[in-house]
């Protein structure tokens, strides 16, 4: 057997001449001290430096807060890329120096470490749920606290960012449209995800003052200890565990704070949506603090190159199953988990069906050997697959020893890649090429609270009335006559007992201010009572929760809503 440090399902007849050939043929691939690669990195570095200068100028010229936010974001992304590329260049130079002065590899040394193929890793449909407290809706009425957030993603030395999104109380989660693709990932990749946020309003403005005051009062510390606590919070807020982003230059622009982060690896890759935990990185004291639920949903897909690119091709003779002497000449293409045998080389590109397709997967066993019995054609390859109780073996012949050698090498590499990329090699995961992002639009799209209210004809009365009654409460001497229409519970027959529905009538429960409602009714059979028809659906009832950081309190209700 070969001395390999990976489990191999490829065997060579022991003591055969072939085995000797292979051993000798395993020259170590020298690491190129590759000017082309480094030049590329240098070029990127120069580009980022230029971009950074541009961003600095733009930031200095900004008059509006939202523009400043975009410019600050660009500046920070540039800074972090510059650092990252510089670090990588340094690492490469060091590696080159070590190569030159290090021990010369010799044939008798241990065989070269096989390295897995690269792959494309794509993260998309990123969504971060928020969890607003009831009280958020009714404090600071009229001034809507807004945040600008974006995600920074790093894999290796590559850094990418999502678009910036403005968040306020009317959003239930932060959904990014971006599709972020990294093209040079190895199976041991670490994709670091960081969420940065900044206040849209000037920090220290009146908005937030009531909240801060309440916080101060409720968490009373002595003056000096309070000062110390605050100092330590401030310094801890930005540094975390070496976030990718650098602290803002003291330009007087908006300040982004790291809100949360997580690292995703191969284990998180799946052809579907998954939820991952976020490590929250800021406290309520931080002006940019957002009530994050603590998870992020996304689709993380990976396409190793061995699945999408052919890894070997050439002429083969394949023994037709069941027919001993009939060897068909084919053009074999090893791609992903199959060895396709086409009648003619052109067929591989024209989409013609191959003559035979042989599956190559984690369970396949491959054997190379010299058949003494076949004259003139000694270089054979056997590929065996288990189908239920049956074992099916295909025998192939290559044209020469070198050809057999290169097929075996390709198969070894494929098995190694499969063992490294694991679930990514079961089936090809679909990755959509990200469309180039539109440049950030100037503010006004995400307008004020009033734009986002999206009043629907049936909603406005209910929404306004609810707000009014909530605010005025007992101060209304004589409730307007039409108010009576909203005091009834809609007739919702449900198998649960009434205990699951909070006893208070609907109209005293707070409705989220300004949240657009999709007004929907069960229509079949039609609800006959005209009063019930005009009432908004049973509003999401939020039980009062305990205050405090990351309060996932004790919900008391089990709400039901018609859709």
């Amino acid at each position: 057997m070969f001395s390999r440090n990976h489990r191999s399902r490829v065997t060579v007849a022991r003591g055969s001449a072939l085995e000797m050939e292979f051993k000798r043929g395993r020259f170590r691939l020298s690491l190129f001290s590759d000017p082309p690669e480094d030049t590329e990195l240098q070029r990127k570095l120069d580009h980022e430096i230029r971009m950074r200068e541009g961003a600095c100028k733009l930031l200095a010229a900004c008059s509006q807060r939202e523009q400043a936010l975009e410019a600050t974001k660009s500046l920070l992304v540039c800074n972090s890329r510059i650092l990252s590329y510089m670090g990588e260049l340094q690492r490469r130079k060091e590696a080159q120096v070590l190569e030159k002065t290090g021990r010369r590899p010799s044939d008798s040394g241990p065989p070269a470490e096989r390295s897995p193929c690269r792959g494309r890793v794509c993260i998309s449909d990123l969504r971060i749920p928020l969890m607003w407290k009831d009280t958020e809706y009714f404090k600071n009425k009229g001034d809507l606290h807004r945040w600008a957030v974006f995600l920074l993603l790093q894999l290796g030395e590559h850094i990418q960012d999502t678009e910036m999104i403005l968040v306020d109380r009317t959003l239930t989660d932060i959904s990014f449209q971006s599709n972020v693709l990294f093209t040079e990932a190895g199976p041991d990749f670490e994709l670091r995800l960081e969420l940065y946020g900044a206040c849209v309003e000037e920090e220290g403005a009146l908005t937030g003052a009531p909240k801060r005051l309440a916080t101060k009062l409720s968490s009373s510390l002595g003056r000096s200890s309070g000062r110390r606590a605050r100092a330590s919070l401030d310094s801890a807020g930005g540094s975390g565990s070496s976030p990718i982003l650098l602290p803002t230059p003291a330009v007087g622009g908006p300040r982004y704070h790291l809100l949360a982060h997580t690292t995703l690896t191969l284990a998180a890759v799946q052809d579907g949506f998954r939820t991952h935990d976020l490590t929250l990185a800021s406290h309520e004291e931080n002006p940019a603090w957002l009530p994050l639920y603590g998870s992020v949903c996304c689709r993380l897909a990976a396409q190793p190159l061995c699945m999408t690119q052919p890894t070997a091709s050439g002429t083969l003779r394949v023994q037709q199953a069941g027919e001993m002497q009939n060897w068909a000449r084919v053009h074999g293409v090893l791609k992903g988990t199959n060895l396709f045998c086409y009648r003619r080389p052109e067929d591989a590109n024209t989409g013609e069906e191959p003559l035979i397709t042989i599956a190559i997967n984690k369970e396949t066993r491959v054997r190379a050997g010299e058949l003494d019995q076949a004259q003139g054609r000694p270089f054979t390859l056997s590929i065996s697959n288990q189908y239920g109780d049956d074992e099916v073996t295909h025998t192939l012949q290559t044209e020469s020893r070198e050809a057999l050698q290169s097929w075996m090498e390709a198969l070894w590499q494929l098995f190694f890649d499969m063992s490294q990329w694991k679930q990514c090699c079961d089936e090809i995961m679909k990755i959509e090429t990200p469309t180039p992002r539109k440049p950030p639009q100037a503010l006004a799209k995400q307008g004020s609270l009033y734009h986002e209210m999206a009043i629907e004809p049936l909603d406005d009365i209910a929404a306004v009335t609810d707000i009014l009654t909530q605010r005025e409460g007992s101060r209304l001497e004589t409730p307007p006559p039409w108010l009576a229409m909203f005091t009834d519970q809609p007739a919702l027959p449900n198998p649960c007992s009434a205990a699951s529905v909070a006893p208070t009538p609907a109209w005293t429960q707070p409705l989220p201010w300004g949240r657009p409602r999709t007004f929907s009714l069960d229509a079949i059979p039609p609800v006959h009572s005209p009063r019930a028809r005009s009432v908004a659906p049973l509003p999401p009832q939020r039980s009062p929760r305990t205050r405090g950081f990351c309060s996932k309190g004790q919900p008391r209700t089990w709400l039901q809503s018609p859709v």
Binding site: D125, T172, R274, P495, T518, A523, P540, K552, W558, V563
Partner: protein
């Protein structure tokens, strides 16, 4: 597809074509559950800490019933969006997007016998 642990039947795909009712698109069922709700009050779940979204009733003859949705089904996904880790309101919104006339749900369902037992016990 193989059944998930705790469920006796493999996940079902249910495609609901919403019905237009004046200004609105309705599906004809009700949901319960959510990460901000008290899961112990869910009469349909086997695991009383399950904060998922469940179908609490299905209107007779409505789009959901026609599509094969059943009371007690747990909704795992809506048009690819995850529903196992959402608040109640988020779930409602996912289902009632005005731009979508068709929703494809991925649901899991206990065997009929268990479902009957559950509803009788509550």
């Amino acid at each position: 597809p193989t059944p998930l642990p705790g469920q006796d039947v493999a996940p079902q795909r249910v495609e609901i074509h919403k019905l237009r009712q004046g200004e609105n698109l309705i599906l004809g069922f009700s949901i319960g559950g959510g990460i901000d709700q008290d899961p112990s009050q869910n009469p349909f779940s086997e695991d009383k800490t399950d904060k998922g979204i469940y179908v609490t009733r299905v209107s007779e003859g409505g789009p959901a019933e026609i599509a094969g949705l059943q009371i007690g089904d747990k909704i795992m996904q809506v048009n690819g969006w995850d529903m196992t880790m959402v608040t109640h309101d988020q779930a409602r919104k996912r289902l009632t997007k005005r731009s979508e006339e068709v929703v494809r749900l991925l649901v899991t369902r206990q065997s009929l016998q268990k479902a009957v037992q559950q509803s009788m016990l509550s």
